[in-house]
Symmetry: C2
């Protein structure tokens, strides 16, 4: 019989305990949870605040009683693990109700303490209207405060910050977002956040980018937020959403090896540096599917699967399979726009000085001739050596999750840009296109690799360059492009004599497709021609419908 103690009863700890029970009816499994709730739906918290999830019960997935019935677990809520004795294989727990303490013996210990919101020691940060969102209690407090608030400031424009902004807006609050970076969703490359910024502004949310929070001051029943720029913002409610840090104080005291940012270091079986102690979830760093250095991905999917791997290692013997590493796939929906990523971004590749090439394509999410087609943009990063996909980002209105999932699967399968050309994705007019945008990304990337076209990723700032805009006249009239000569694509072949063969040409269109066609014509006619990748859609109007033939 095995005695298992699990510290933390949400995603990683819950999955570990459930899998362990499946594998061993005989094990004694005790789950220690500091909060009053176990196994709640973390990712749903913002949606209950805004009322999009109407029932609070929907989030309380399990109770100690239900887990006893389903899994024969001993769950102790409002109980904190305060010390680990690795040599004695025991953990000291404190009942937060009566303060009593006791030692629990274990054969194996699972540490799944999760992460806590970053709360920098700024002046005034302990004000009563300043909240972080981690658990059901935080959620209840924010929901209650929002009910009597007219305005909110959300600090941090990452995934959770944007979800919070949307949900507070849904309650009728005036919402401002403050973000230190010059873009929302700083996890994404800059150009992939443009549509989301447009969507937030369209919905009346104020964006304050490139500015950070300096201090807070009470102002009547509200809070005055002083920004680094000197600007002041008053709000009835402030939500801090500037990231999380692993909750690994106990692990550190117990002598577990931690990574540079405080995460518990684990091997491919989720074993920590101390025998008998496993760890999983937001508190750990694991292998990165795409890199040599460890990855810390504080998301529910990896947490659940890591917990499962640890239980398998304890009970499954040779049949257990190691954790293969994380990709960091993530997505967010705000109003009608979705954006997300998988694998590495261009920024990260550049910072790591890792060789890469960039392909950006635009298309509709399903056949353009079928009603309801919505534009989307897909960016793929790939290895110039072998063509392997290193990362992808997508943004648009519909079908973003699907393309990210295809690319995430492609990375796991070590697929190349050639493989993307030939993915045979499900097609009927309501679902996709005979050439899906993922195929188009493969076409564009292989065209670049094979030297059929040279792309530029910025509009030229050189008077020597002839910037040729091949969009049709009505499109150009609606969205003129400064410094460009307009030669509508169908006129190009008969207009070659108007161009100077001794000056380089950059072709440009809405989406980057017609400009590629134009560059092909010019190259074959002896011009030094390059195509502006992805078109000017992103900078002019990220919502432009992707009707390619006339762009």
């Amino acid at each position: 019989m095995k005695k298992l103690v699990v510290i933390g009863g949400v995603a990683a700890g819950g999955s570990f305990a459930a899998r362990a029970r499946r594998l061993s009816e005989a094990a004694e499994i005790t789950v220690i949870e500091r909060g009053p709730d176990v196994s709640f739906a973390n990712c749903g918290l913002p949606y209950y605040i805004g009322g999009e999830i109407p029932q609070r019960e929907a989030l309380a997935v399990q109770t100690p009683q239900s887990l006893k019935g389903l899994l024969n677990l001993q769950v102790r809520v409002r109980t904190e693990a305060v010390a680990i004795d690795p040599a004695g294989r025991r953990v000291k727990v404190r009942n937060l109700g009566d303060g009593s303490e006791e030692w629990l013996a274990y054969d194996a210990l699972m540490l799944a303490p999760g992460a806590v919101p970053v709360r920098p020691p700024l002046p005034g940060i302990d004000g009563e209207n300043i909240f972080c969102l981690r658990n059901l209690q935080d959620m209840d407090r924010i929901k209650s405060a929002a009910a009597s608030s007219a305005s909110a400031v959300v600090i941090g424009a990452g995934f959770i910050g944007l979800e919070m902004a949307e949900q507070l807006h849904r309650l009728g609050l005036r919402v401002s977002i403050v973000e230190l970076q010059e873009q929302v969703l700083p996890q994404l490359d800059r150009e992939m956040s443009a549509l989301m910024e447009s969507e937030l502004k369209d919905n009346g949310i104020e964006l304050i980018l490139g500015d950070g929070i300096a201090s807070f001051t009470p102002k009547g029943s509200a809070t005055s937020c002083q920004l680094n720029s000197g600007r002041k913002l008053d709000a009835d409610l402030v939500v801090l959403s500037i990231g999380v840090r692993p909750d690994t104080g106990l692990a550190k005291e117990a002598g577990l090896e931690l990574g540079p940012r405080g995460h518990i270091h684990v091997d491919e079986w989720q074993r920590t540096s101390v025998e008998g102690i496993y760890a999983a979830g937001d508190a750990v760093e694991t292998a990165d599917r795409l890199g040599a250095s460890p990855a810390a991905v504080p998301l529910g999917g990896p947490a659940n699967r890591q917990g499962r791997v640890a239980a398998d290692h304890i009970f499954l013997g040779a049949r257990a399979k190691p954790y293969p590493g994380s990709l960091g796939t993530a997505i967010v929906r705000v109003f009608n726009v979705a954006a997300g990523l998988t694998g590495w971004t261009e920024r990260r590749l550049r910072q790591a000085a890792r060789p890469h090439r960039v392909t950006l394509v635009n298309d509709n999410h399903h056949a353009g001739y079928f009603p309801g087609a919505k534009p989307m943009a897909l960016k793929v990063l790939w290895d110039p050596e072998d063509g392997r996909v290193l990362g992808a980002q997508a943004t648009g209105f519909k079908g973003i999750d699907k393309r990210l999932d295809v690319l995430a699967t492609a990375i796991v399968g070590k697929l190349t840009i050639d493989d993307l050309c030939h993915l045979e994705l499900s097609y009927a007019p309501p679902f996709g296109s005979a050439k899906d945008i993922v195929n188009l990304a493969g076409f564009a990337a292989t065209n670049a690799r094979d030297g059929l076209v040279e792309n530029v990723h910025q509009l030229p700032d050189d008077p020597q360059v002839q910037l040729i805009d091949v969009r049709l006249k009505p499109v150009v009239q609606a969205h003129p492009l400064k410094g460009a000569v307009n030669i509508p694509f169908p006129m190009l072949r008969s207009s070659l004599d108007k161009l100077d063969r001794n000056r380089p040409v950059v072709t440009v269109c809405t989406f980057g497709k017609m400009s590629y066609f134009a560059a092909r014509i010019l190259l074959q006619n002896g011009f030094d021609a390059k195509s502006y990748s992805g078109g000017i859609r992103g900078s002019i109007d990220p919502r432009s419908p992707a009707k390619l033939a006339t762009s």
Copy 2:
């Protein structure tokens, strides 16, 4: 300079011509099309008939004039290729307007004649109200006939047949579907069509399964359809949708090697057996990604990419990449239900006597706690040797295309059931679950492989077997299961003494998850226990919401 002649100007021919032009401004490219339209949106035809696509122009993607402007193609519509002289590298074409004929010389010929609907020589089949749907003219005729019809019979319940049935119903016609097989969507395994059958019936469409058409008789302005069973059905309008055959008469006369079902045999560069002649699209058979024998997949995606491969082979030299073969990914939406497949089905694996195992899982399409979660079913076929995915089928209301695309990508990446466990798919509550149904399929499959559970795929018909229904009492009362003993899951551990340890047990629940949990408990307590895979949801109520904890 290369002279290219393209026979057939829709998907494969159009893609070939477009890619060829991109690669060579100097080529002379002539496209021969028998019909009056070139490059039209084939897959949209049913939707224009029903009015879901309101604008006919949306389907006429290109015209000869627009293709001249965009691609400098010579397009000859209403022109038929009537003979090929491979030795002389020329093709004889007939102008269907004036009957004049001429020989066109080519350096390379692309045959993309497509497929024609099967129209068996049944008595009365040439009746004026009996239609097939292949092109814009057929579409116009059916739409016109439907306008004065009150009832329709669709013969054939494949993808196009169901789309036609839905669209005719949308116009207010009474619609019956006649299908020779005992299921709709005979491309799928039987149990994966149950939800679609329920959806068709719910919408008032009559299903006549296991019956075929014998003959037609005019009856006033209507048509009487005599079925093999003797049954008679009257309808104002009949649509035949019983499959397609490759339109390869010309290819045969030219001496090209054909496959057993009349498809043009091509190599990985789309080269036919005759030098200088390429072929692509519905008329050819190519490699199968998963098998040794050739595959013929009459769909737009493969057609487009095959056309592109042929052009690359002509112009790209060593940079060209071969066609990697087809998977047969396909999907259909009818009313609110989607169903589709990728790779091989169980039926096909069984017919080929190819070793395989079956995993069937049920879940919601996104987090159950987020409003709007809809049930879906996913079936995965895998190789018992190495765990590689051999095929998948999915059906449900939302997110079906996404899961098929992930599985299609997984097959290309040669992923195994272990890899499915660890796919890191994009998760936020509106999009998925921390454990996506694709992960669940991996969990269920590896559990079966690792001997944690033995699944049965049919309910036992042996009085010796104890059939234990672990659903909760209210669920059992709503949907009782004959011959089963109900022990609600939370009571199971305390009820083991009620069971006979000397008799085998099969556990059953709604979705196959709790029955797996129950089988684990029983196995570890010394019982010979198996779990009924996928639960009884499919046979009782394929729409049951997948609230797993209480199933």
